[in-house]
């Protein structure tokens, strides 16, 4: 690709890409206008008022309050417009729609481990179907990373100890770079991969190719039994631990009097630091699974919990 033509922006492959580009072009126009104005004025003044015999001593000039007000107010007004446009787009970028495919992404120095809900795993690659919104649930095993897809115009830091969410809806089939975008050590520039956007049919074919896998929720249930969660949280557990049925998305009442939303972070923390935010009415007897379960396994358990039906009479959020 060493031709004379250089591409100036990446492919537009998501619903958001065009929006970002349009705002970018507006800012370029504003910048060209103001930079052009300043450069031109400087050049014109430098030439017109250059020192010559007869103009060794310049005439007096006066300050101009109106001018000061104008060139303060006009840029200020422009920045309000730019801010509002940018904030609105930002809000949209950070608000996933409903009906997303939820894909788990676990980052570690220096690779990306990706789990599809149907159970298929990939490393340093992300296969997606065209036209369906996708929500990435991101977490790191070690340092801060960042999952960046230039063609989608979207990125988010990937933190240790806390889930982050990034969503996009691919609009064009093809192969697009993704990069780690938060310096993470020696292999930072190697922590890259490809996003493959495929037609829905090709995607289905890809999903079912290779070794058959169980959906994450099923793997999660097996894990639930195998590592002993069922002993306290299962149906025959005599209430040693709170029931997990319909728990995800509900508000729980904690020992300390406060309430907490049972989201991904809360559930993960309850597995790794069970006594930190104990549910009211229960004893601090749950052992920690830190060092026993990997981030992927925790995500499998979370998938299982989310698959449990809501409590009778309640609607799943």
């Amino acid at each position: 690709m060493l031709g004379l033509w250089v591409q100036l922006s990446p492919d537009r492959a998501s619903t958001v890409a065009g929006k970002v580009d349009h705002l970018f072009y507006f800012l370029i126009a504003v910048s060209v206008f103001f930079a052009g104005l300043i450069f031109t004025l400087i050049l014109v003044f430098a030439v017109k008022y250059r020192r010559r015999p007869g103009n060794e001593i310049p005439p007096a000039t006066k300050d101009n309050l109106m001018l000061e007000i104008l060139w303060t107010a006009i840029p200020a007004g422009l920045t309000v417009v730019i801010f509002l446009w940018g904030a609105r787009l930002f809000y949209h970028i950070f608000t996933p729609p409903t009906g997303t495919i939820k894909i788990n992404v676990v980052a570690k120095q220096w690779m990306w481990k990706i789990q599809h809900p149907e159970g298929k795993m990939e490393i340093d690659e992300l296969h997606l179907p065209l036209g369906r919104p996708v929500e990435l649930n991101l977490i790191s095993e070690d340092v801060i990373h960042d999952f960046f897809v230039p063609a989608f115009r979207v990125k988010h830091d990937v933190l240790p100890g806390r889930y982050s969410v990034e969503w996009f809806k691919p609009t064009k089939t093809g192969k697009y770079h993704f990069f780690c975008s938060q310096y993470c050590g020696t292999g930072h520039s190697r922590m890259v991969g490809w996003v493959y956007v495929m037609t829905p049919r090709d995607y289905q074919r890809w999903l079912t190719s290779g070794q058959p896998t169980d959906p994450l929720a099923v793997t999660g249930e097996r894990l639930f039994q195998r590592v002993g969660c069922a002993a306290c949280h299962g149906q025959e557990s005599n209430g040693r631990g709170p029931s997990l049925v319909g728990l995800f998305g509900q508000t729980v009442h904690l020992q300390n009097g406060r309430t907490r939303l049972a989201d991904d972070d809360y559930l993960r923390e309850s597995i790794l630091r069970p006594n930190a935010e104990l549910v009211e009415g229960y004893q601090p007897v749950m052992p920690t699974f830190k060092g026993i379960l990997s981030e992927e396994q925790i995500l499998e358990l979370l998938a299982y919990m989310k698959s449990l039906p809501p409590k009778e009479g309640e609607v799943q959020p």
């Binding site: 970002v20 300043i38 005439p59 904030a87």
Partner: protein
């Protein structure tokens, strides 16, 4: 600002004064134990120049690596050390001290008609703290390096890095106190030691700029000091406030770090803006347009600059509502800078403009700072920052401000006050040539990086996809031109010390108290402390009368 009883300065060909601060005493001890602000300024000049070229050498190496897509010149670990040491050296050992510790130290007492700073011995200790901090950094550089980036993000820096993090943060911590003491000295000096008649609004705008910078120096630097200490503590004791295992939040580091590091960029650029006000007026032969607006803009930038740190964290996991507040404030901080650019441009209007080296650098500053500032708006715009954060777009933006802005301002100042400091003129032709080479080299180096960034090339990448190569080659080509541009002044300035034309007290016919004493000045600056009776930049004006 002439006073009625100023000593008559000699007429005829300029001569060096018989006794001045450089020849009053010879010997290493007279320099190493000096409390003369002017000698301390020159010692800082030597030190920061050394660090500039070291930081530049690191950049040369990694720009060479970036000529080709694969990482084939140095290992990835070495590459990470190169950009880390480039950042640390350039930020803390060149940019932050550059104008304040060199030009500020030399000029603040002179511009306000004082015999020295308020605390000369504190000033000397500032220098030694800088040297000691610098030694730690040099040792790190040459024995094993640092690979955390200049930003030291946790948990990488606190728990994973295998390089000399503790030595590096110690060096920066010590140098930080150098900054704090310098800022403290300037604040007290400007408040308490102005000559009779020198009211606040008669002060040169360089003093306003240094004052605003000093406020940031004293309030922001301690936060960096404690933050880096905490990283060091966590590395030594394997437990600390950023440790997720005990409930620590890695984002807390980012908030604390950027609370300092954002105001730090204003430490780097405000003094340059001060230089530009001095140079534009002298080489247009007229008063500044909008004096009060420029003075208050400096203060506004310093204050608002403390409120925008979260714009480095829009995609970090910070709340999106916090992001919106920081975005709004980041737009606000741009306005005073824009006001300054307009006022400087208006100063040229109906002036009598000449283009000696200092003026070329200052005009270059205005153009390049404008581009840098406008691209800052892109980054303040939330929807765009999500895409360009941590890409080469950011690198291009801050180099336009730091190099196209701050360094050009520094070069402008060095070239403007060189004759005052040394008594000698450098060859202006070479000065202008170097300025032009730097301008061209700079733009060729950094403009392609805006495009690279929007295309998606991340920062701190040792290897990259092949489609990014053309722009990288352009950038490296520019960097080699830039290197030539920066080496030239080293040569002709040193040449001028021996062979340069004698400058005389005021070769530029500039207004300002510093120009009303000899070049070089005597140790205690003025034979008699002047009394000030007029405002700044009181250049003669042509009265337009019926008689012409």
């Amino acid at each position: 600002m002439i006073t009625a009883d100023a000593p008559a300065l000699p007429t005829g060909a300029p001569q060096l004064p018989r006794e001045h601060f450089l020849n009053v005493e010879y010997g290493v001890k007279s320099w190493l134990l000096t409390t003369d602000h002017k000698r301390i300024a020159l010692m800082f000049l030597v030190a920061v120049t050394l660090f500039f070229f070291l930081g530049g050498a690191a950049a040369a190496l990694f720009r060479l690596e970036l000529l080709t897509p694969p990482g084939d010149l140095v290992s990835d670990h070495t590459y990470n050390k190169l950009f880390s040491i480039h950042g640390v050296t350039m930020v803390w050992f060149f940019l932050i001290p550059s104008i304040p510790a060199v030009l500020g130290n030399f000029l603040v007492p002179m511009m306000i008609g004082a015999r020295d700073l308020a605390f000369p011995r504190l000033n000397l200790s500032s220098f030694y703290l800088f040297v000691i901090g610098g030694l730690f950094t040099l040792v790190v550089m040459f024995t094993g390096g640092l690979d955390t980036g200049w930003t030291f993000y946790t948990p990488y820096s606190s728990m994973f890095a295998n390089t000399y993090v503790i030595a590096a943060v110690t060096g920066i911590f010590i140098a930080g106190f150098s900054s704090i003491f310098t800022g403290l000295n300037f604040i007290v000096t400007i408040h308490k030691m102005r000559a009779p008649g020198l009211t606040w609004f008669r002060l040169p705008l360089f003093i306003w700029a240094i004052y605003a910078t000093s406020v940031i120096l004293v309030l922001a630097t301690p936060v960096l000091a404690i933050t880096l200490t905490l990283v060091g503590v966590e590395r030594i004791f394997h437990v600390g406030i950023f440790d997720p295992a005990i409930g620590g939040d890695p984002l807390l580091f980012q908030h604390l770090f950027w609370f300092y590091s954002h105001p730090a960029v204003y430490i780097m650029v405000l003094p340059s803006m001060g230089v530009v006000s001095e140079v534009i007026t002298c080489f247009s032969r007229k008063r500044i347009f909008g004096y009060h607006f420029i003075a208050f803009s400096s203060l506004a930038i310093a204050v608002i600059g403390f409120l925008v740190w979260g714009h480095h964290m829009f995609v970090s996991g910070q709340s999106i509502y916090a992001g919106m507040v920081f975005s709004m404030l980041s737009f606000a901080v741009a306005i005073p800078s824009a006001v300054k650019v307009f006022n400087w441009t208006a100063t040229l209007y109906k002036g009598s403009v000449s283009f000696e080296t200092p003026m070329l650098y200052s005009l270059g500053f205005i153009g390049l700072f404008t581009i840098g500032g406008l691209t800052g708006l892109f980054l303040a715009t939330l929807g765009i920052d999500v895409h360009v954060h941590d890409t080469y777009f950011v690198i291009a933006h801050f180099h336009y401000i730091m190099v196209g802005g701050a360094v050009m301002g520094y070069m402008s100042g060095i070239h403007f006050w060189w004759p005052k400091m040394t008594g000698r003129m450098y060859p202006d032709g070479w000065g202008r040539l170097a300025a032009l080479i730097i301008f061209i080299g700079f733009n060729l180096t950094f403009f392609p990086q805006f495009i690279l960034g929007y295309l998606g090339m991340p920062r701190r990448y040792h290897s990259y996809p092949p489609e990014f190569q053309v722009l990288n080659v352009m950038s490296t080509a520019g960097a080699s031109i830039l290197a030539v541009g920066y080496l030239l002044p080293l040569v002709y300035m040193l040449w001028s010390l021996r062979y340069g034309r004698i400058a005389g007290p005021n070769p530029w016919r500039a207004k300002g108290l510093e120009w009303e004493t000899t070049s070089p000045p005597p140790t205690d600056n003025f034979e008699k402390i002047p009394t000030v009776t007029e405002g700044a930049y009181a250049y003669p004006e042509r009265k337009e009368t019926a008689h012409g």
